[in-house]
Symmetry: C2
């Protein structure tokens, strides 16, 4: 289903609409959820399971920004596009929360490939990525616009 | 300019289109940039100033997701809407990077206030937030759709 499970060095030149990629996985611990939340999103439902049970989440839930950061890490480790993942903007939504013990992976599809009109060494790639848990439930949908560089000239 | 610089307890009932809020500030250190990047976005331009100078960023730059996480923390500390900042989705863009030493603050404006049709204790609020550095330059634009709860009944 995916065209690559490793860093195969896909530069702008190599990308085309419809290509699909799948990252490795990351299992999220309760400690990681609390640590991220303590620093960046210190709300009771991200910090304390007992309080979270009485909240709209019904139990401890990772900050959406934590899910986004884990998603980024998985995508960086995959390394597509080659030369750097440099986002200029995105849309993100969280249909359900990430829970302690969830094992996340990201499945991406190339939606647009647009050469730069002013710079011949790069272009823009739009990728749609779903972050799924071990039950194949979607915890994040991300549509990201990224700079992608052309394959460097040899010599 | 802002209606509140502290947690004034603005519930869904209290919010209306055009209200503006301003958070406190956070100064970002080089260590914080590298620490976040090491965990979530380990690309050379977020980790090493020398390598970053030869990159499209022209110097060490925070991960966009780090800027997003700092923005969330500033907004959580402000505490609007009261009862929790629970985003269901957003659009985010990073017109310029956050740099070591930058002092960030967030200016938000309420764009939409929509009562829930099925639950009378809540509604949806759309807030547009700009994260600005000490030179008043925008490092992040965020339009976030959030659940907001009505003021709890007394007694």
């Amino acid at each position: 289903m995916s065209e690559s499970a490793g860093n195969a060095g896909f530069y702008f030149d190599d990308l085309h609409v419809g290509m699909r990629f799948e990252t490795g996985t990351h299992t999220v611990t309760e400690d990681q959820i609390r640590e991220f939340a303590t620093r960046f999103d210190p709300q009771p439902f991200h910090l304390d399971d007992a309080l979270a049970r009485t909240s709209v989440f019904g139990g401890l839930a990772a900050s959406g920004w934590h899910t986004a950061a884990i998603t980024m890490r998985l995508m960086v480790d995959l390394g597509i596009p080659a030369g750097g993942l440099i986002g200029t903007g995105c849309e993100v939504s969280w249909p359900r929360p990430t829970r302690p013990g969830d094992t996340l992976r990201v499945m991406s599809e190339v939606m647009e490939v647009v050469p730069s009109r002013s710079r011949n060494d790069r272009g823009t790639v739009v990728m749609r990525s779903e972050t799924r848990n071990q039950n194949d439930e979607i915890v994040q949908q991300l549509t990201a616009r990224m700079v992608a560089f052309c394959r460097p000239a040899v010599g």
